[in-house]
Symmetry: C2
Subunit: 252 residues, 2 copies
């Protein structure tokens, strides 16, 4: 008998931002795959008979590569276990969900996916940042400062146009490059921006900044990942004076 894989979005950290369905599925599982981002009181929902399996990534002690996690998942499903795979935020956003779904699909195991509150929306709620706004912001973009391949980095400058709010995940180290790329394309340096650190945790902190001071304020206020960076570009901000980029190209 094959097991079942339940990918569960656990929200940004606070256990009361778990959905009711997520809480029920954790209770039902017989093995719980989790990493360091999932809080202790979420793990405490697991049945005492269930195994808690730490599968954090390489950069932390005892962490593993994604290929190792996939092997462990395959093993547990072949052993007939009901695996609750906990993801912080929502499983479909920067959660490597496609790879873990592929493991279960290949075996023919049952899969359920439970959505969660993604960190950007938790941060927006906590700091009162509307990510859409009638007649001002019609699109909301979630992107990342990290990427699998440097050459395939998101084209940040192309994502932020008038009418768009962008949330950057894991982007503290890229602050200078993001700000330079955007300003070189003519985005006004006066645009309002926010760093939100430790979303959903008791030590959540908001640092208000502007596009031309992203890196400066991140350094001065010692902003650390996990942090979300919001930049809002309302349609009405297109009236702001723009200093064109130098013609010889501020390539970065």
């Amino acid at each position: 008998m094959l097991g079942k894989l339940t990918l569960i979005g656990c929200g940004p950290g606070a256990s009361d931002l778990l959905t009711i369905r997520a809480a029920r599925r954790i209770v039902e599982a017989d093995i719980v795959f989790h990493d360091r981002l999932v809080e202790a009181d979420v793990l405490e929902l697991a049945s005492p008979a269930a195994t808690l399996q730490y599968v954090g990534k390489k950069c932390t002690d005892g962490g593993r590569q994604q290929t190792d996690i996939n092997s462990m998942l395959r093993g547990a499903l072949l052993a007939g276990r009901h695996v609750a795979r906990l993801k912080s935020g929502d499983p479909m956003i920067f959660g490597r969900a496609a790879e873990e779904i592929a493991v279960a699909v290949e075996l023919g195991a049952e899969i359920e996916i439970v959505p969660g509150v993604t960190a950007a929306l938790a941060a927006a709620a906590e700091c009162s940042i509307p990510v859409t706004e009638r007649a001002e912001l019609q699109s909301f973009v979630v992107t990342t400062g990290r990427s699998a391949n440097k050459d395939k980095e998101p084209d940040w400058a192309n994502l932020l146009k008038p009418g768009i709010c962008v949330a950057f995940y894991m982007s503290v180290a890229q602050a200078w490059r993001i700000q330079t790329a955007l300003m070189a394309r003519g985005v006004p340096g006066s645009l309002q921006a926010e760093w939100v650190e430790n979303v959903g945790k008791p030590d959540c902190r908001r640092v208000e900044t502007r596009l031309d001071r992203l890196a400066l304020d991140a350094r001065q206020h010692r902003v650390r990942n996990p942090a979300i960076l919001f930049i809002r570009y309302p349609l009405s901000a297109t009236n702001v004076e723009v200093i064109p980029a130098p013609a010889d190209g501020m390539t970065i």
Copy 2:
């Protein structure tokens, strides 16, 4: 004594996709502002002593304009009521949150915002659609087919580039215009797309389609709002043959 405003994201419809915090805040409220999109079993969480106030929008019977909702909200806060303002999905995405927050800020009333599972992420989970994917999709965009002002419509063609997944809310009526705008800019018509109707409800339905058949399949399968349209443009899809748009411009 001024009241308190709690903006609450109720998720896409299924009551078990409510967060624990959202459920608690509904229980605590003494007046509950809701519209037709919020399910009956969510409303049943309200205290028997609380008033349920229907504030649906104009297009439905008995519905109101946003300005009327703002006035009612102001009145309730001045009367010292604890208002739970229920929003389907997440309050910060297409929820007119900025306007309702402004009412409370102007009065100096306390505000709390409870994030929720936005419809696109619930649809992605229900239909197993990863909206990001390592080395393929690094950005996720949420946008709308409707806008406050026709001239300020989102520039759809500019949102969908290689490496991006776009979710369009309320876009059935714009299917033909979206597909034409994207293909005129050289986006391959063979790109995989999905309509997801009635997310989070028992009659949730997925219609698989492609960019060049968006409108055709919406009509043939009678897709109705509320529906989310997903279009994924993986980096590897840029190898697909693209038929350039005619030089005389297929303006729409």
